[in-house]
């Protein structure tokens, strides 16, 4: 009995009322989920329709749901930190608890919120936008999602079991080494990110192939919608950057698990190697998430200004050059580590160069609106507010890139304010805009505009109230990751203002949740499939799109092909006769991705605690799943013409 008690006290995180509350609520939520599913007899439905699906639209929806949950978790982390910092000498969180929270906040927001939201939008939009029936590798797509899901679960579990990582979101050794962090938290970090990172890499490959090989006939590369271009740029960056992360974390794992010396101080190891490697991934990573946001803004600006996107070729060139240049700036994250003047000067200039294509994009968006007819829908409002926010964030980024000045900005709240400005004002606003814009395509109804505008204003005002003071706190010497500060420093008032801003954004999030709940209950079904008067192919089919997306694969002749079709129809030009329906070739559902990812989770959990009785069955399960899949030949089927005809007739209300 005592040994069990002893074990439980080490296994579960104990001793903090906040964590106890979380444990209880997690337990209750799980019981509630099991009860609801059992009561309504929905287990079979869950398995057949969702857990085993290979349909890109459903996978996209699951990504979005997970990322909203993670936004909640990361947001609560943020508010806990802001509460602790609201007043000098606050005694709300202990130092070690605060350190865990800023670490998990960073990891969750970048890797388990921004990334899946982005993948969700890729999944929902890309095949529809290029006129494809699914992604190139639907099974792999499902595997990517479940690897992300179980990786995220493993990482989040650390909060209540074993203890969270607390060495910062990039976990520099020697602090993240065995000596600096002897607990299991760092192991959760390594395996949570590793498992989901493999999924990210596969998604990158999947969408590159999808975009290059599965476009509708007639859609040349230079006729692709801008979001598709930005996805291609982002995925190319993923496949070059993520292997670096995988290897870096693997080497760190070797150090911690097998006592290797890649990044240790003694026996010839070198922590600087880790810092270089992690930023070779880490810097491209922020461009991976911002590039698709650029694509989203391009689509929205053009739709709601009712005007063709300005400077298409410039935009493509800018996207691609940002993607390439992002690999040559990593050392600007450690100008202050004594690289010498020449190295610093080189990386300072490469960093500044990124401002050029980015600036060009801003001008192109502005001139898309110029001589347009701007409609202030919520997606458009997010887009318009993004422009000043991102320009200011970009400018402070340029200031940070000035290496000798960076010696005064580095690790200070100035830096914190800068990257939150580009990540919230750029990435988050972009993904919110995209989510609102494509929501009707996902579910067949629009989100409530009024509540969306409340959320928009709260987020925007909250953002400036929260982060503008932080620039000044940084210039006044406040460094990041301090869990408390002295009254004498005079940082109290600005911190209090900043905390108020943080909570305004929190209320903004509640409005988004309310908006979604309200819209599910009350919104009118959209019967047109094209509620925004869109320009690209995804708006030419009913919402939500049928399983096979396009009854007949469209033939593309223009950049904004659906817009051109509508123009022709308005001018009275009859459509080309639709080709005859043919049976549609579709992939079969499979439970293997879910099961295999779950075995990865088991193995990862075993590695975290060094329990071979989890590691071995976990890895064996993974291997068996691979074997089983290798011998499956019956993986596809055809939807007969009759069924397509019936579905189309039902969806289009007889219009087809």
């Amino acid at each position: 009995m005592d040994t069990i008690k002893q074990f439980a006290s080490e296994f579960f995180v104990t001793g903090d009322p906040l964590i106890l509350g979380a444990q209880v609520s997690i337990g209750l939520t799980m019981v509630a989920i099991v009860f609801v599913l059992s009561y309504f007899r929905k287990w079979g439905w869950l398995w057949r329709e969702w857990l085993t699906t290979v349909d890109h639209k459903r996978i996209g929806i699951m990504y979005v749901i997970c990322s909203i949950l993670m936004l909640f978790r990361g947001g609560v982390d943020a508010l806990l930190m802001r509460t602790q910092l609201a007043l000098p000498g606050m005694e709300f969180l202990h130092a070690d608890h605060y350190n865990q929270i800023f670490t998990t906040h960073g990891v969750i927001m970048i890797l388990f919120m921004a990334m899946p939201l982005m993948f969700g939008l890729f999944n929902i939009v890309i095949p529809l936008q290029i006129g494809a029936r699914d992604v190139a590798f639907p099974f792999l797509n499902s595997l990517s999602f479940w690897l992300f899901f179980w990786g995220a679960m493993l990482f989040n579990m650390s909060f209540v079991i074993g203890g969270s990582p607390d060495a910062g979101w990039l976990a520099y050794p020697p602090l993240s080494g065995l000596e600096g962090s002897p607990g299991v938290g760092q192991n959760f970090y390594i395996w949570g990110i590793q498992i989901s990172g493999i999924g990210s890499l596969m998604t990158g490959i999947n969408f590159i192939v999808t975009i290059l090989k599965m476009r509708a006939p007639g859609m040349g590369l230079m006729k692709m919608p801008m979001f598709t271009w930005s996805t291609l740029a982002s995925c190319l960056t993923i496949i070059l950057a993520f292997p670096i992360l995988t290897i870096t974390l693997f080497l760190l794992f070797m150090d911690r698990y097998f006592g290797a010396h890649f990044f240790t101080l003694d026996a010839g190891g070198n922590p600087m190697m880790y810092i270089n490697l992690i930023w070779m991934w880490g810097h491209p990573e922020v461009y991976i998430v911002i590039l698709p946001a650029f694509g989203i803004f391009s689509e929205i600006v053009s739709t709601f200004a009712k005007k063709t996107l300005f400077g298409y070729k410039s935009m493509v060139f800018a996207l691609m050059s940002i993607s390439i240049a992002s690999f040559f700036t990593w050392a600007h994250h450690f100008f202050t580590m004594g690289s010498g003047a020449n190295v610093n000067a080189f990386f300072a200039v490469t960093t500044m160069i990124i401002a050029i294509p980015t600036g060009v994009k801003i001008f192109n968006w502005l001139f898309t609106m110029y001589r347009g007819r701007i409609k202030f829908t919520t997606p458009m409002m997010w887009t318009i507010s993004f422009i000043p926010c991102f320009v200011v964030g970009g400018m402070t980024g340029v200031m940070l890139s000035v290496a000798p000045a960076d010696f005064q900005f580095h690790n200070s709240y100035f830096l914190i304010a800068h990257f939150h400005q580009v990540l919230i004002g750029g990435v988050a606003f972009g993904f919110f805009a995209g989510l609102t814009y494509w929501w009707p395509k996902m579910f067949g109804f629009k989100l409530h505009e009024g509540l969306g505008k409340w959320a928009f204003w709260l987020w925007n005002i909250g953002f400036y109230v929260c982060f503008m003071p932080q620039y000044f706190l940084g210039l006044d010497g406040m460094t990041r990751r301090m869990y408390t500060y002295d009254f004498d420093m005079g940082w109290g008032p600005l911190n209090l203002v900043s905390t108020v801003g943080g909570f305004l954004m929190g209320i903004g999030f509640l409005f988004q949740v309310w908006q979604i709940a309200h819209s599910i209950k009350f919104m009118q079904k959209d019967t047109t499939g094209d509620p925004w008067d869109g320009r690209t192919l995804e708006w030419s089919i009913p919402s939500p799109a049928p399983l096979y997306n396009f009854a007949t694969v469209p033939t593309v002749s223009e950049t904004d092909d659906w817009w051109a079709t509508k123009q022709r129809r308005a001018a009275g030009v009859p459509d080309a006769p639709a080709p005859a329906l043919e049976p549609i070739h579709m992939p079969k559902h499979s439970g293997i991705p879910f099961v295999m990812s779950f075995f990865w989770f088991v193995a990862g959990f075993g590695f975290v605690f060094d329990w071979l009785h989890f590691v071995i069955p976990g890895l064996a399960g993974v291997a068996i799943c691979m074997l089983v899949r290798s011998f499956q030949y019956d993986t596809d089927y055809y939807i007969p013409v009759d069924e397509v005809r019936r579905t189309e007739a039902a969806l289009r209300g007889g219009k087809a």
């Binding site: 063709t308 004594g338 400018m395 000798p404 109230v465």
Partner: protein, 306 residues
């Protein structure tokens, strides 16, 4: 939001970085102002243009604004807005490269006065400052003479940290197994806030300290006072000091010979014993400065030894 920014901007004159008390921080402030100015040159017109376009081309029934739904390309205009950022960035790049060389942290500050050497070690979670020429040491506070260049030699005997006194100049990392060099100087007497700017574990937030700049004679008197009122730091005392934990200010009249060098070379691998270098052939304290010289461009000591 613009009002808020404006209100905050008026307050920024008080911020430490904008209130420099030494030549390094002063030049960094100038550089920050130059880069801010260049940014504002772009920022203001872009914001104005955004506001104009959004207001002028909003969708109204009685709008008299022109509407050209297919106008999507204009080579001249696009050349203009490729050119504007290129020019601004080119100017800033030239300025940056010049300043990067001028403000290289290991570059001595030109002065008639002889420099003071202070050896900085970041520990879990405290700062050890050794004054090898004065043969004294302090923990978590600094005294420096005004108007004298100070040559900080920095290392770490714990997870890396970063040594930052905003009013005197920008920060530099302290890293185990290597010594970095940072020149700073205080132009006038005063008490300047300093901190460990890089997260180094649980009590990292407690690694703040004050650097007090005083006239030379007061500094000499302080050295004498430290020498006469405190105990020397011993090797055992240091081992105790480096144990994880926070500390109040401390002072020591005397430091173990070659301690800084030993800390820097703790991880040197020479094929047999990572701690060879102790014992009979223990190097003199001066060599610590030499090793710092060798390391100032970021060479890792353990690699130099390979």
């Amino acid at each position: 939001m613009l009002l808020l920014t404006a209100a905050l901007l008026t307050g920024c004159g008080d911020a430490m970085v904008f209130d420099p008390k030494g030549p390094i921080a002063a030049q960094q402030k100038d550089l920050i102002y130059i880069s801010m100015l260049l940014c504002v040159v772009i920022l203001v017109p872009v914001l104005a243009l955004t506001a104009y376009i959004v207001v002028r081309y909003r969708d109204r029934k009685d709008s008299d604004a022109p509407y050209e739904p297919t106008w999507s390309h204009n080579t001249k205009l696009e050349i203009v807005w490729w050119a504007i950022p290129i020019i601004i960035i080119a100017i800033l790049a030239v300025v940056t490269v010049r300043y990067t060389h001028a403000l290289e942290p290991s570059k001595p500050i030109v002065s008639e006065k002889e420099e003071l050497v202070i050896q900085v070690t970041s520990l879990d979670w405290k700062w050890l400052f050794q004054y090898p020429e004065q043969d004294i040491a302090t923990v978590n506070y600094l005294y420096i003479p005004e108007d004298v260049p100070v040559r900080f030699e920095l290392t770490s005997d714990a997870p890396m940290n970063s040594f930052w006194i905003p009013q005197l100049g920008g920060q530099i990392y302290t890293m185990s197994g290597m010594a970095m060099t940072l020149y700073l100087q205080a132009d006038e007497p005063g008490v300047y806030y300093g901190s460990g700017a890089n997260f180094s574990g649980e009590h990292f937030a407690d690694m703040t300290f004050f650097a007090t700049a005083v006239p030379q004679d007061e500094f000499d008197a302080w050295v004498e006072q430290v020498k006469s009122t405190s105990e020397p730091l011993t090797v055992e005392g240091y081992d105790e000091l480096r144990q994880p934990g926070t500390s109040h200010v401390q002072q020591f009249a005397g430091i173990p010979e070659g301690l800084f060098y030993d800390i820097v070379t703790r991880y040197v691998v020479d094929g047999q014993n990572p701690h060879a270098g102790h014992g009979a052939s223990a190097p003199e304290a001066e060599e610590a400065s030499d090793s710092a010289d060798a390391a100032e461009h970021g060479h890792d000591e353990s690699h130099a030894a390979h």
